[in-house]
Symmetry: C2
Subunit: 412 residues, 2 copies
C-alpha cells in the first residue's frame, strides 16, 4: 500500500477512565515514530472530541509533549486530558452539512489520520466518518481505539480502562470487608458498582477471593433480580457470620425489566418534598432494614471507580499505551475503519497481542458476562470468571507523588 503522507488528529470521547490518557499517550508515541519516518508531520488533539474538531479547537500534541517525560505523567493522569463529548453524528448522507464541514477542516489541516478513543458511541462515530470519507472519495485512515471501564465491547478480550476500574473495585471491596469485620453486631453492607447492562465491574468485587475474602453475595444485571431470593440469601449469610457484604450492579433489575434503583420503596422525601430517586443500593438498604431489621448501609463507589488513577493496573496502563501506539502504526500500514482489539493469546502465562476488527462488527453491540461466569444460584461468580479477570488487575504503576499527591499532566 502506498504511504499516505499527511497530518493526524486524535480525540477522546465518552466517559472518562483511568487509562484513556495512557491510550492517548500511546497514539502520541506511535505518531512520533511516524513523524520520524516522514509519514505524519503534525498530530492535532481535538478538545472535547468531535466538537473540538468542528470548532477547530485543536492543540499541537508534538509541541505539548516536546518533553517526552511528560507522556509518562500523562499516562498516570485520570480522565480525558483532551476533554470529552457525547455528540452523536448524524447518518452520513452525501449532502450532510456536519460531514461536509468535517471534510473541509480535514482538508484545511491536511488531516489524513483520524484516531478516536472511546466506547460504543465512539465506534459509531468512526463507522459513520469512514462511510462519509469513502462516499466523497477523501483518502483517510479512520481508527477507533476502545476505551470503557464497562468492558462491554465485543471481540476484544477486554477494554482499556477496565482493568484499572476493576483493581480499584477489588481493592476497595477488600478494604471495606476488613472495615466491616471489626464489630460483632449483625450488619449488612451493600456496595453499589457501576454497570447498567454489563456486570463485569461488579464481578470484579470477587477478585479478593484469592486473598481469602470476598463479598458474600454478588448480583449482576445479566440475571433477573428477585427481592425474596435476595432477602433469603442475606438471611442465610447472616447465619454464617455477622458482617455480610453484598456487591450489586447499579443496573440490576426485576423480571419485568424495571431497575431495582428506580423502584422507590423508601418513600423518603427531602426538605422540598421531592421523593428520593434512590439507587439500587439505597433501595436494597431500605428493603433489608424493613425485612430483616439489622444494621444496614449502602456504599456507592460512584465516580471514584473510574478515575482512581492512583490505583491503576499496570497491566491496563501498559496495554492501553500499546493499543494506542499500535493504532498509529497500523494506520500508517493501511488499516482503516477498524477498532483496535486486545487478543488474549495465552492464559498461563497471560499474554496478549494487539489486533483490529472491522468497526461495523462492534459498533452498537455489547458483550455481557457469560452464563458460565455466574454461579448456579445467580448470587456470585465462578472461579472461571475470577481466572479471566485476575491478570487484568495485576501490577502497580510507579506513580510520581509531590506534596503527598499524585502528579497529573494537564493539557491547557
Amino acid at each position: 500500500m502506498e504511504k499516505l503522507i499527511g497530518n493526524a488528529v486524535v480525540g477522546q470521547s465518552g466517559g472518562p477512565t483511568a487509562a484513556i490518557n495512557a491510550t492517548l499517550s500511546g497514539i502520541i508515541r506511535g505518531a512520533m515514530e511516524l513523524r520520524d519516518n516522514g509519514t505524519v508531520e503534525k498530530l492535532y488533539g481535538m478538545k472535547n472530541g468531535i466538537e473540538g474538531l468542528l470548532g477547530e479547537n485543536l492543540v499541537d500534541l508534538f509541541e505539548v509533549f516536546a518533553n517526552k517525560e511528560d507522556l509518562k505523567t500523562l499516562e498516570h493522569t485520570p480522565a480525558a486530558a483532551l476533554g470529552s463529548c457525547r455528540k452523536k453524528l448524524p447518518a452520513p448522507t452525501a449532502d450532510d452539512e456536519t460531514f461536509a464541514k468535517i471534510i473541509d477542516i480535514f482538508k484545511k489541516y491536511n488531516i489524513r489520520y483520524f484516531f478516536y478513543i472511546g466506547g460504543n458511541d465512539s465506534m459509531d462515530t468512526v463507522d459513520k466518518l469512514s462511510t462519509y470519507t469513502d462516499l466523497c472519495g477523501y483518502e483517510m485512515r479512520v481508527i477507533g481505539v476502545p476505551k470503557t471501564i464497562d468492558n462491554d465491547l465485543p471481540i476484544t478480550d477486554h477494554t482499556p480502562g477496565f482493568g484499572s476500574a476493576a483493581k480499584y473495585i477489588a481493592t476497595m471491596t477488600q478494604e471495606i470487608i476488613r472495615d466491616c469485620a471489626v464489630y460483632q453486631v449483625k450488619a449488612v453492607t451493600i456496595i453499589e458498582i457501576m454497570g447498567r447492562d454489563a456486570g463485569w465491574l461488579t464481578a470484579s468485587a470477587a477478585l479478593c477471593r484469592r486473598a481469602g475474602v470476598e463479598p458474600d453475595l454478588i448480583y449482576l444485571p445479566e440475571t433477573v433480580f428477585n427481592m425474596d431470593s435476595f432477602l433469603n440469601d442475606v438471611r442465610a449469610a447472616l447465619e454464617k457470620h455477622p458482617n455480610v457484604v453484598v456487591a450489586i450492579s447499579e443496573g440490576i433489575h426485576f423480571e419485568n425489566g424495571d431497575y431495582v434503583g428506580s423502584a422507590n420503596q423508601s418513600g423518603a422525601t427531602d426538605v422540598f418534598g421531592h421523593k428520593y430517586l434512590s439507587g439500587s443500593g439505597k433501595t436494597l438498604e431500605y428493603a433489608v432494614k424493613d425485612a430483616i431489621g439489622c444494621k444496614v448501609r449502602s456504599i456507592e463507589l460512584n465516580l471514584c471507580q473510574r478515575c482512581a488513577s492512583h490505583l491503576a493496573s499496570e497491566t491496563d496502563l501498559s496495554e492501553s499505551v500499546l493499543v494506542g501506539k499500535t493504532a498509529a502504526l497500523a494506520a500508517a500500514e493501511g488499516a482503516s475503519r477498524v477498532m483496535m482489539t486486545i487478543d488474549r493469546v495465552s492464559d498461563t502465562p497471560y499474554k496478549v497481542e494487539i489486533g483490529n476488527v472491522s468497526v461495523s462488527e462492534v459498533a452498537n453491540k455489547v458483550k455481557l458476562v457469560p452464563r458460565e461466569f455466574i454461579n448456579e444460584k445467580e448470587n456470585g461468580v465462578t472461579d472461571a470468571c475470577v481466572d479471566y479477570l485476575l491478570p487484568l488487575i495485576k501490577g502497580e504503576p510507579d506513580i510520581r507523588f509531590e506534596d503527598g499527591l499524585p502528579v497529573h499532566f494537564i493539557i491547557k
Copy 2:
C-alpha cells in the same frame, strides 16, 4: 520508679482507620523490647476491645507475631485487626460489677499494663479504668493511644489515622475534579466527607491546591450553613467555569442547629447517643437541581475514606507506629492515666515528638477547625490551614501486592 513486672493487654476501640493497626504494631514492637528487658512476659490482644477482655477472648500477640515481618504487613492492613467495640463503661464506683470483673481478669492473667487505642470514647474508658484501679489499689499502668480519622482530639497536634484519611480525600478530590473537567456542560459535583462536628477531613479536600486545583467551595461544620449563600456561591462559581466541585462535611448544619442532611436521617443513634448522619450531599443535590437547574450529582466518600490503606500516608503510618511503641516504653517508665500525644516541634522542616497528657484533659473534649483556618466568606479554607495539613499526607508506604491486591494480615 520501681519496675512494674507483669503482663500487658492491648485493645482497639471505636471506628476503624487505615492506621490503627500501625499503632497496634508499634505497641507490639515496644512490648517486645519490654519482654527483652524482663518487664513484660506476655502481651495479650483483647478481641473486640473491652468486650474481649470481659469475655477473656484474648490472643497471645508475641505468638501471633513470632515472625516480625508480619508486623510490617499488619501496618498496611486497614481497620482493627483485633476487632473493635463501642462499649461504654459505667461510672467507676467501688461496688461496680463490671469493674470488679475486670480486676479479677487482670489478676488472673497478671496484667499490669493496659493499652487502649481509640478516640474520644476510648479515652473515657481509660479515665474510668484508671479511677477504678486507683480506687481499689491495684497497681497498673493505663495508657490511651489516640486514633481517629476525625483529628478532633485536643492537645495532640493531630491524631494517628487522620493523615491517611486526609490523603485519600485529597487524592480522590483531585481525581474527581479531573473527571468532572472533561465535559463543557454546566455541572455541579458535591463531595460529602465524614466529620460530624469537626471539619478537618473536609478541609483536607483543599490539599490539592498545591497541584493547582481544588474544590470551588468547601463548607465545614464549624460554621453555620446558609442555603441562600450556598446557592449564590454555586451560581458565582458556575460563572467562572462549567464544572463546579463542592466539598461538604456530613455535619454541616443550619443556624437552628438542624443538620442539612436531617431530611434523610434514619433517626437511629449509636450507644453514645450520636445521631447517624448521611445525606447532606443528597439534600444539596436536590437544592441545586431545584434552584439552578443544571446537572448535579453528589458523591459520598463513605467508608472508603477511613479504610483506604492502599493510599495511606507514610507520615501517618510511621508516626502511628512510633506513638504505639513510645506508649509501651513510657508505661514501663511509669506513665499512666495518660493519652499519648504527637507534638509538632517544627514546621520547616516538619518534625514531631511523642509526648503524653493526663487523659482527664482530653476525655470527652473535641478540637475543632479554628476560625483562622476558614476563609472570610466561610466557603473555603486558608493557606494556613493547608500549611498545617500538608505534612500529614506526605509519603507513600511501600505496600506489598499479590495478585494485583494489597496483602493484609489477619489475626485469627
